[in-house]
Symmetry: C2
Subunit: 373 residues, 2 copies
């Protein structure tokens, strides 16, 4: 967490929105107050009609774009001048989610009521709570109707929740690699990642010290997660059965294969930039997500009018596979809502929305460009 604080100080563009009234949560609990860390890029036009709200995924932050900071943005491929989310044309807003660890109120924040960090006293957060908090910020900025909202993975879940609850507040929606509800499979994988953290004695029921966070547990959680973000094919092409360092097998319990070493590296670097308790809360928020009404998706959209949708899935994404996007497309079409859909043929797996992908850029650019500001 020390490192995260350091990261935040390195972002000149970072702003905070503070809410000092009671904020009711879906669970029935409430927060006495909260703050959200957010960043904006570009200029909001006079009519306030060119704003795009970007929702980040599990491990993201408000830092969607490098801009004048010293730190890469998590979506530099898609944001910038000459990028689909063109900062010379649009006013972009990206907010760290409630429950997160990049400046917004979460389990590692200070609880004024109890004079200590929340830890597991932080109430359970849902995707709808994340959206409701961001809604207050958008109201505060004074935007009544967003030009577009977008997100991949759980960012897409937030966009879906937004358009269902605040349909008059956006003209368009772009969803990537997402789903209308967490499947049994999603829950199962999230649960073993949580168990990885719970099993680390340093976790200490959430009350770890800054000096001894549950690194082993969080690393293992991320390693499991990372497998689910990649495709079998991309892993095979990248690592095959290549051995790490040695021309021969060592016959030892070390990371003998390159893929083992890669996962270890990815997991370790994640522990330097993420809070274990936030990981628990955000994965629970995913599990709770289900926008269906009585397990039916069509009625969830029956009040939406005049909103254009673009839905993108990735052929090699097995965590949120194309069929989950198609369910949304089908339900939107059944409500005669304007929806475009493409499955992008790419072998990079779930994380495809985060990489340099020409199809993704072109389709997104064209979709936005065809809507007049």
């Amino acid at each position: 967490m020390i490192i995260i604080e350091f990261i935040l100080k390195d972002i000149p563009n970072l702003k905070y929105f503070e809410w000092n009234k009671i904020f009711k949560l879906v669970s029935g609990e409430s927060l006495q107050n909260f703050k959200l860390a957010y960043e904006t890029y570009g200029v909001l036009n006079k009519e306030k009609s060119n704003a795009i709200l970007i929702f980040h995924a599990l491990s993201g932050s408000s830092h969607v774009y490098r801009d004048n900071s010293n730190m890469d943005g998590w979506w530099d491929e898609m944001v910038g001048p000459d990028k689909p989310f063109n900062i010379e044309k649009y006013f972009l807003i990206c907010v760290n989610v409630l429950g997160g660890c990049y400046g917004s109120t979460g389990p590692s924040s200070y609880d004024q009521k109890n004079n200590k960090e929340y830890r597991l006293d932080f109430p359970m957060i849902t995707i709808h709570d994340m959206v409701n908090a961001i809604k207050l910020l958008i109201d505060h900025i004074g935007i009544r109707k967003l030009f577009s909202i977008t997100g991949g993975s759980i960012g897409g879940m937030q966009a879906l929740d937004w358009v269902i609850h605040y349909p008059e507040m956006t003209r368009s929606v772009i969803l990537m690699a997402t789903a209308a509800y967490a499947t049994t499979f999603n829950i199962a994988f999230n649960e073993v990642q949580r168990q990885s953290i719970f099993s680390d004695p340093n976790w200490n029921n959430g009350n770890y010290s800054k000096e001894r966070p549950p690194i082993n547990g969080l690393r293992l959680a991320r390693q499991i997660g990372h497998i689910t973000y990649l495709s079998e094919d991309s892993m095979k092409k990248k690592f095959g059965r290549n051995l790490q360092n040695n021309p021969k097998l060592l016959f030892q319990f070390t990371q003998e294969f390159e893929v083992e070493s890669y996962l270890h590296y990815k997991g370790t670097s994640f522990t330097e930039r993420f809070d274990a308790n936030s990981y628990l809360y955000i994965t629970k928020a995913i599990d709770y997500f289900d926008i269906r009404k009585n397990q039916k998706l069509i009625p969830a959209f029956n009040h939406i009018k005049n909103t254009k949708f673009l839905i993108l899935s990735f052929s090699s994404d097995w965590l949120y596979p194309t069929r989950q996007s198609k369910e949304i497309v089908y339900a939107l079409k059944s409500n005669e809502i304007d929806v475009s859909f493409a499955e992008i043929d790419i072998n990079y797996g779930h994380d495809s929305f985060l990489i340099d992908c020409l199809d993704l850029k072109e389709i997104t650019f064209n979709f936005l460009n065809n809507i007049k500001i």
Copy 2:
């Protein structure tokens, strides 16, 4: 491990084969001696021509069939009178693998040289070592040519290794849900399971006490493994987003969803019947498995003659998917070897070979029945 000893005492059919000479391993290391726990069913005919060798998978044992014991066999669906592996017609042999924990020598065995249990001093074992040890037992029984050899998952890997190294010693081979080599994906999933065990402080570098084994780590490993054994579809049909016990969400870090509770139950029951160190050794043996020659599969089979193959895959198996079976079929065909192949359409995932599956039974029965003893 106390429980495993108890289980073994409950199997009247259990026999031991002891080898008291140096046994060289693929790694270059060797064992001074070893023993194998095994069971046989049916009667070996005078010509010794009706023997079928069954190789077990990761968590299996020699107890392939309930017979006159008080304990279910792991393959009761396929073994017995009127079953494909008919004990009234064939003489069945099933052996606990070297490195295992069901009676055969493994990391929990007593090392006479050092007057203590092996633990991590146990040398690394490969699939070929497992096969070589069993080969000595088959020689000891006096069988020169098996009627058939079979196995699912890593049982299939052993069968493949057997037929490549001892092609004259079997007339036929039945492979289920298996592969010619562990893929990058297989290694990645095995590695996070091993990391689960390593991360448990009770593991203590392999030197856990019988009273305090690394239950949390082994449970988590099994939970991850179990997800990979099932299909997304079967999990969805079985559990959906059903809640455990409560009609409403609790918004707690408990096992709120049925699938979480199921995984927890499966993981916990596994810790009562398996040794954590054996789990490490056997998963490493899987990772090392690769029968290709210079990454080419066709040359691996070019010396095999007069052996009939049956290869079965399962449509919903994403751990060892059909394409991995087809690679073997293709390589066998390229060598003009007699091979039958079927992908069985079933939604139960990798573990399909273990359940009551009519297609599996019929195809296996017919294949065996068409070869004259």
